[in-house]
Symmetry: C2
Subunit: 379 residues, 2 copies
């Protein structure tokens, strides 16, 4: 008997009751029943995104919604600011470059959050900035950026959009799309939405709609205006991933039942317990100053390759965690607590970590980490 | 007890054994197990596409792969030929226009196939044509285009690509990607691949790869070169719709077991039976001259709205069929036989049609259609 566990920052575990509705016979995407589901889903997404505006749904991974933000709101040559503090910040950079925008980069050391002053400084120097691109949670480093304060810099500026990749932020901690002034807020199904990958979301503000009227960049499949118009009629322009939408409907019921406040508290507690537990066995956090509640990045102990830890998790314990990406590869490993996670998943995660480290010859007092987690989680 | 039946040209019915593997716990997209599945799927797709070249997989609906063909192979201002014989031919037209290509349109009356001479004529007049865009099966009209003969016109022309939307063609009738010289051949999961919507496929020829080196159009999520390179490593650039890929693996096993020749024969027989049955009750085919084996478009009898037939199917019989789209709306209805269909699905479809027509006051001898289908299918 092999029991596999998915403790990575996406795809994340899918509740069995969600898997089971997704395996029901497929509904036709123009049938009244599907319209009903999509209309309900569109309403419920607003709750999770903390917005009164429409949240457009694409059948794609989250990157598709990131591309939509770029291709729909800007014109060739537009000057934009991109915060690059990890692999996903770099993705914004690649996207705006592909579409011929004119990016100014704010590069941040991996493991650190951007400082509001760094962004303000560039805004002061460049009054013609048309947009700011950032992550609320930079999954590759486990960092949370100060979105509220950065958004405040451009909230009253009609000529600059605030574009946030909330792929591992939405449904994890509070990011107030409307109140803070986020114009395009992006997320994906395989994170806090507890679904398999395949759906991407993008909220669209009134300000963003105005930018979309002027945009001269090519878009077709990721046409936000067209998909928004279709959504209001309870449909998608192209055949959507029907079974994922049906699963999403179920997931949103579950999220509403738990309530956003409780969801945030749960993620906050689980991430806190994870951080304290790894510190208790003498490990160093990769992002100690501004950690995201979705994923905890941890330095591998000296002399041990982070990838070996990941490999032992998989081979010996049938648990999938994430290693470091690009320049952090080998240096770190990442334990996740986003989506369908409870206290016992954290205990499992720390227990497996201790067993892996013991196997790799790391010297520490076995049980210290688990005990610390237990102490925090039993309160 | 409500028993719903999906007899539309996409989404199509999904076999229960496929639904069940898709509801298994989600596998991480960078796990060795998923690499293994993706590598197998990539091989098996070649069999169904009749190609030795790579078939790239996108998490998107088929339109995404159509967009990939446009954005990856061409340059701004390239002169291309677009065959428009229905809604999906128009989609090629919209796509090439969005990306700033310079299209020459061959417009064909809906319900008719394009004539090879029409295309040849334009090729003779425009020696600088860089691509031909067409459907193998135009789903909106139920027409099959003469792909082999059109492809032959440019097979030896190194400066012009043959781009075929085979969304309702691949796995239905034989379209020999390599032998006929199709450079990009597109399909989607929710048709003959018997899956829910959410995956798109595009085969890529050596000739297309050369065009891709020169292309100056923006692409990111639908980057064919990048995804092809990733596929060879057993992965996708962005998180793929894992559960659909797992379902695809199962589906491809089933398709290989039945064998392409048998699959084509089955579709041919079922479509023939459908056409003869509707003729037997006095109805007129919308595309009598070059019908596609994936869907049969039928004129509604005089005085009866095609949409009313669709509505009665849904309301009274819990069966989803398709109406006409755009200019054909109300004039026609479409009965499908693509993917997971057998003889009894055709009998069901014709029986429901007879009951619906009776209800709508159409005068005919009840049972004539079903008898005709039975006669053909029992042979």
């Amino acid at each position: 008997m092999e029991k596999w566990r998915l403790l990575a920052p996406g795809p994340t575990p899918v509740p069995e009751e969600v898997l089971s509705v997704m395996s029901l016979p497929v509904i036709h995407h123009r049938a009244p029943k599907f319209k009903e589901i999509l209309t309900k889903v569109a309403e419920d997404l607003k709750y999770v995104f903390q917005t009164k505006n429409d949240v457009v749904i694409f059948s794609a991974s989250g990157t598709g919604a990131m591309e939509a933000a770029v291709a729909n709101c800007f014109c060739k040559g537009d000057k934009v600011l991109v915060v690059r503090a990890g692999k996903f910040g770099e993705r914004w950079g690649e996207l705006v470059s592909v579409y011929g925008l004119n990016p100014i980069f704010v590069d941040v050391e991996w493991g650190k959050a951007v400082e509001v002053a760094q962004v303000k400084n560039e805004l002061d120097k460049n009054s013609d900035l048309k947009g700011i691109f950032i992550q609320s949670s930079e999954t590759s480093t486990g960092v949370k950026h100060p979105i509220k304060d950065i958004a405040a810099l451009v909230k009253k500026n009609d000529n600059c959009l605030m574009i946030v990749d909330g792929i591992t932020g939405v449904g994890v901690f509070s990011v107030e799309t409307d109140n803070w002034g986020i114009d395009i807020h992006v997320s994906g199904s395989q994170k806090a939405f507890m679904l398999p990958p395949g759906l991407a979301f993008a909220s669209v503000s009134e300000k963003a709609l105005k930018f979309m009227e002027k945009s001269d960049l090519p878009k077709y499949y990721f046409d936000l205006k067209k998909e928004r118009k279709n959504l209001l009629k309870g449909q998608n322009a192209y055949t959507p991933a029907v079974s994922l939408v049906v699963g999403l409907s179920k997931v949103l019921d579950m999220l509403k039942e738990e309530g956003l406040e409780n969801i945030w508290k749960r993620h906050s507690l689980l991430s806190y317990a994870t951080r304290e537990a790894v510190k208790a066995i003498g490990l160093k956090l990769y992002a100690p100053d501004s950690p995201s509640e979705s994923v905890t990045a941890v330095y591998a102990p000296e002399g041990i390759d982070g990838q070996d830890i990941v490999k032992i998790f998989r081979t010996n314990f049938k648990i999938t965690i994430a290693g470091g990406q690009d320049r952090a590869k080998g240096k770190i490993f990442r334990l996740s607590h986003i989506g369908f996670f409870d206290k016992f998943d954290i205990i499992t995660s720390i227990a497996a970590l201790e067993m892996a480290l013991k196997k790799l010859g790391y010297k520490f007092e076995l049980g210290k980490g688990v005990s610390k987690a237990l102490e925090i989680l039993s309160e």
